[in-house]
């Protein structure tokens, strides 16, 4: 049977199941036995419109299990074993949970996503292996972001810091970059980094630059340079280098961009290294 026909059949089965009409579901299974047994994804993936409704998700899972059992009763184990293997295989279950939590997060259901992750993070912490290496950092980072979005900055700091350390341990450069930034944001929100004023002035300098107010931007950064720590040194020198370049002072532009590059290398900031290397080339090649 064509895939497009199956697209019609599954909603009909779902409608019958919701109406409590298992006989009709069974009739569809009998009629489209082979096609349904081969299309496990149509049942194991919860349809997007239902994902915002936990009772609907639950109903869908029941529906999938029912169809799986009906198929199994007719000799086709594929759907049922697919559903059950997810339960029995912890890695598959963790992966599914992280994916499901991500979907909930995208839909703004931060607390529901946090609950899902809270259930698997202790298991991940206790496990070992390459799959765990990949998943634990993601789960922690996502949980930290959820905590931030519901206003729990203490929990957000704790989880994101652990995510960062996990990514450093496993050599996940992208994770290190993302969670470093997240950590800085959360720390600032929590008022724990002692650098709120520095951050605010650097952000303001960037805004002044973007508004074409270059002299003011330059003066503001020069005033703040002595207060920045390693986290913001690359940004401060990099922005000052760019401003000096636009103001026509190539020597100062080169000097500050070099310092930005060095600061980026010091903390392993790949974006800083790539961007300030490119900026240095532009400055050196300027007529």
């Amino acid at each position: 049977m064509a895939e497009t026909d199956l697209a019609d059949v599954v909603p009909r089965m779902w409608g019958a199941f919701q109406a409590g009409d298992i006989g009709t579901v069974e009739a569809y299974v009998d009629r489209y036995l082979e096609a349904l047994g081969a299309a496990t994804d149509r049942f194991t993936i919860v349809p997007e419109p239902l994902r915002s409704d936990s009772s609907a998700i639950e109903a869908w899972v029941e529906f999938a299990v029912t169809v799986g059992r009906l198929l199994a009763g007719r000799g086709d184990q594929r759907l049922l074993s697919r559903i059950m293997s997810s339960d029995d295989n912890p890695i598959a279950r963790w992966q599914d949970t992280v994916s499901e939590a991500q979907l909930l997060r995208q839909d703004g259901r931060f607390e529901a996503a946090a609950e899902l992750l809270a259930a698997i993070i202790p298991e991940l912490r206790a496990a070992r292996g390459s799959a765990v290496d990949t998943l634990l950092g993601k789960a922690l980072g996502q949980a930290g972001a959820n905590a931030f979005d519901v206003g729990d900055t203490d929990e957000a700091l704790r989880l994101t810091d652990e995510a960062l350390r996990e990514c450093e341990r496993t050599g996940d450069a992208e994770g290190v970059s993302i969670y470093s930034q997240n950590l800085a944001t959360i720390a600032a929100a929590a008022g724990d980094d002692g650098l709120s004023a520095v951050r605010a002035r650097l952000a303001r300098a960037q805004q002044l630059h973007d508004g074409g107010r270059l002299d003011e931007a330059r003066d503001l950064i020069i005033a703040v340079l002595g207060e920045v720590d390693d986290r913001y040194r690359a940004k401060a020198h990099g922005l000052l280098g760019m401003i000096q370049y636009r103001l026509g002072d190539r020597a100062a532009a080169r000097e500050h961009t070099r310092r930005a590059l060095d600061a980026g290398r010091c903390v392993g900031d790949q974006a800083a290294i790539a961007i300030y290397t490119a900026n240095l080339q532009v400055i050196d090649q300027a007529p």
Binding site: T185, D210, M242, Y276
Partner: protein
């Protein structure tokens, strides 16, 4: 005259009884379409997976048991092919998006930190050579490049875009206010000076402010039409909050105008990068730019600008905080008055803003003496007042705003006629990108004008809906029902939307004309996804009959002249007139079937003039609808292919479709490759153009080996019931899916 394709037929003929369910607003044949599994599905359920309904099923599913256009739009969106750019956005879809934005909104202090963090990313000076596929996104302030291969983002402020964007940069100043050209007072037109609003701290009724109103806007002043929702049937702004929000936000915009002018140069124009339409260099919103053009340039010199900058910077920190919170805390506006009292340059600057607010600028009931005449005169000129300056929308809830009939009329007028609108928000969260009401209104206004236009066509052209029912189906509220006839009449006066919004799920219906190479043999395109060929044309001039038809000229509301019957038919053939002139086919490409009928009717009434103008004898006419919002009535609701033997084709469409519509380009490219000569009628410009060789006595040899397939196609073949989606058009036209 011979008409064909009057009744759509289908190669999969519907089963069951054929009846004409009037509420479907579809041809009778749709009475036999079975919905099958779609019958009892809600739109949410219908979105299960990525299921897509057959077009005929979609048309019935979206209309059965449904009255409101919004509800039809929601159902259409639920079962048509998904588009990466998002689907048809009606009020219901937008409501879902708003709820999502509310759920994902962070607490304000965290959002502030996140926005701060956003400024702390590393910024490049130039875009280096980067390996991999480069993609970009543009916002109001930045352009960001990235590749799939690297997490590094190359983000540039639009003030300092990379050199790669410098080649297409053009001046982009906003226009001077039209009001400057009107030297004499116009009866019924009044404006409230901004300083009067600040002095009063409230929106007061016309009778109470009449001595302060001005009737003429001189050079150096800026008229702003304030579109807002009345919060009370007796007084629009009972606690003065709208007055406070308007006043504080306009002062902030004036300060920004001063900064932009200082950074860019007082007389330097705003610039944009033409290919993307984004700003290039220092610039502000359209409202800010209007203030530069209307308030600063005519009266300021560099010295005065420096003083204004000094004053603006003295309140920069104050205005940098939440303007909504500032306004909410300033009942009666004493604080704003104090700010302006100490800043004479800013006070003089903002004092030259003239506001049009209905409650202040039209006599309010009870009206005595000649106030009723004054009121009627002013009401008649509402659109004109919007055209005289800029429209500023004071926006709270987008859905509520667009549900108010007056507000919708004002927004659509601004969107179609007066160079857009600016939004002042009355929501504290307006700084949150996820919940920005401006974005929501802009998205909604991409499709809402199309939905309204279909409602008007249903009433005025297709005659399927009475005008009051059309307004009810648009779900519009109005405080005084007596206003409805006027509102309807003004909506009717707005011409067809010209903004092109196309999606994979556009419904294509009508007839695709294909060049006939020999009897029963046609050339069909086989590369529908190919980029648009250049279209070298020579402008011939303008013609009155070539302007986009409006509904206004079709007679009084409720008594409009129906179109001639032939206009409802998507292909009409005429016998040659025997004048010996080259024969021509007229191909209309419209936004929906109602519009196609309107254009066909209008052109057929002027057919003789068109023939004279082009020097041809028109022997056939086809229409094709490319409908992004198939929510209105359909008279044909099928898609056919027909051989056309004429050596000249005249394509009738809009200028934006000529440049950007792949359906239009497919017809033009096919015709050109088959050796036909092309003429163009561009309805939005009223312009006529021809390509080299037009008119031709006979078809040229062409280049039929390039991108064309030779197929057998006898005339009068069956049409595909329901039409086809845009994504499937190329396959349908080439005949690859026949059988």
């Amino acid at each position: 005259m011979e008409s064909v394709c009057e009744v759509p037929t289908t190669d999969s003929a519907p089963r069951g009884p054929v009846h004409a369910p009037a509420d479907l607003h579809l041809p009778k044949v749709f009475g036999g379409v079975e919905l099958g599994p779609w019958e009892d599905l809600s739109p949410t359920e219908a979105m299960l997976g990525d299921y897509v309904a057959d077009p005929a099923v979609m048309l019935v599913y979206s209309r059965r048991g449904v009255i409101g256009y919004d509800e039809v739009a929601e159902r259409v969106s639920a079962v048509t092919p998904r588009d990466p750019a998002g689907g048809l956005t009606g009020r219901r879809t937008m409501r879902t998006q708003t709820e999502h934005a509310r759920r994902t909104r962070r607490p304000p202090h965290l959002e502030a930190v996140r926005l701060e963090q956003d400024q702390l990313g590393h910024r490049p000076i130039e875009l280096p050579d980067i390996d991999g596929h480069l993609s970009y996104t543009v916002t109001a302030s930045d352009i960001t490049f990235r590749t799939d291969e690297s997490p590094i983002e190359w983000r540039f402020s639009l003030t300092f875009p990379p050199a790669a964007l410098s080649s297409g940069v053009v001046p982009d100043d906003v226009a001077q206010p039209l009001a400057w050209r009107i030297a004499d007072p116009v009866k019924g037109v009044w404006f409230l000076p901004f300083d009067a609003l600040v002095r009063r701290g409230a929106i007061d009724r016309w009778q109470d402010v009449r001595d302060e109103l001005v009737s003429v806007v001189t050079p150096g002043a800026l008229p702003l039409f304030i579109s807002h929702r009345w919060l009370d049937t007796a007084r629009p702004d009972p606690d003065g909050r709208q007055a406070r929000l308007t006043a504080w936000q306009l002062v902030a915009a004036a300060c920004e105008a001063v900064e932009v002018a200082a950074a860019r140069g007082l007389h330097e124009p705003r610039r944009k990068w033409a290919p993307l339409g984004c700003r290039a260099g220092v610039g502000g919103s359209d409202l800010v730019e209007s203030m530069i053009v209307a308030l600063l340039r005519p009266t300021f010199d560099d010295a005065l600008l420096r003083r204004a900058v000094s004053e603006a910077r003295s309140v920069e920190e104050l205005l940098g905080s939440s303007l909504v919170a500032l306004a909410d805390a300033d009942t009666g506006l004493p604080r704003l008055r104090a700010v302006l009292d100490n800043r004479p340059v800013l006070a003089a600057l903002t004092g030259r803003i003239h506001l049009w607010i209905d409650y202040c600028c039209l006599p309010q009931p009870p009206r005595i003496d000649d106030e009723e005449l004054e009121f009627r005169a002013g009401l008649r000129l509402l659109n004109a007042v919007q055209l005289m300056g800029r429209t500023v929308i004071l926006l709270d809830e987008v859905e509520e705003y667009t549900r108010r009939a007056w507000c919708l009329l004002e927004a659509l007028t601004a969107d179609r006629w007066s160079n857009g609108f600016d939004v002042l928000s009355s929501l504290a969260e307006n700084t949150d990108p996820a919940g920005d009401p401006y974005d929501h209104l802009s998205r909604l206004l991409l499709d809402l004008p199309h939905v309204v236009w279909r409602a008007l066509l249903d009433t005025e052209v297709l005659g399927t809906t009475a005008w009051r029912d059309a307004l009810a189906r648009l779900d519009l509220d109005v405080t005084d029902p007596d206003d409805l006839p006027y509102i309807y009449e003004r909506l009717r006066a707005i011409p067809a939307p010209v903004r092109l919004h196309t999606m994979a799920g556009d419904l294509i219906t009508g007839v695709v004309p294909l060049p006939e190479l020999a009897p029963g043999i046609v050339a069909a395109p086989n590369d529908g996804s190919r980029p648009i060929d250049p279209l070298p044309t020579t402008p011939v001039g303008e013609a009155p009959w070539a302007h986009v038809p409006t509904l206004e000229g079709r007679g009084p509301v409720g008594a409009t002249a129906p179109p001639r019957e032939s206009a409802f038919v998507p292909l009409v053939r005429w016998s040659p007139a025997g004048r010996g002139r080259p024969e021509a086919h007229v191909a209309i490409i419209a936004a929906c079937e109602g519009e196609a009928v309107l254009i066909a009717d209008s052109l057929e009434r002027s057919l003789g003039e068109l023939e004279e103008f082009f020097g041809v004898d028109v022997t056939s006419r086809s229409w094709l609808a490319d409908d992004v919002a198939p929510v209105g009535a359909l008279v044909f609701a099928g898609l056919g292919r027909e051989p056309i033997a004429a050596p000249n084709w005249i394509l009738v469409t809009t200028s934006v479709r000529k440049e950007h519509c792949t359906v239009t380009s497919m017809l033009a490219t096919t015709a050109r490759r088959a050796g036909l000569a092309l003429g163009w009628v561009l309805l939005d410009d009223g312009a006529v153009a021809v390509e080299d060789g037009f008119p031709a006595a006979q078809r040229d040899a062409g280049d039929v080996d390039s991108g064309l397939t030779i197929v057998a196609l006898p005339p009068g073949g069956p049409a595909r019931l329901g039409g086809v989606y845009r994504r499937d058009l190329a396959v349908f036209v080439s005949g690859a899916d026949d059988g």
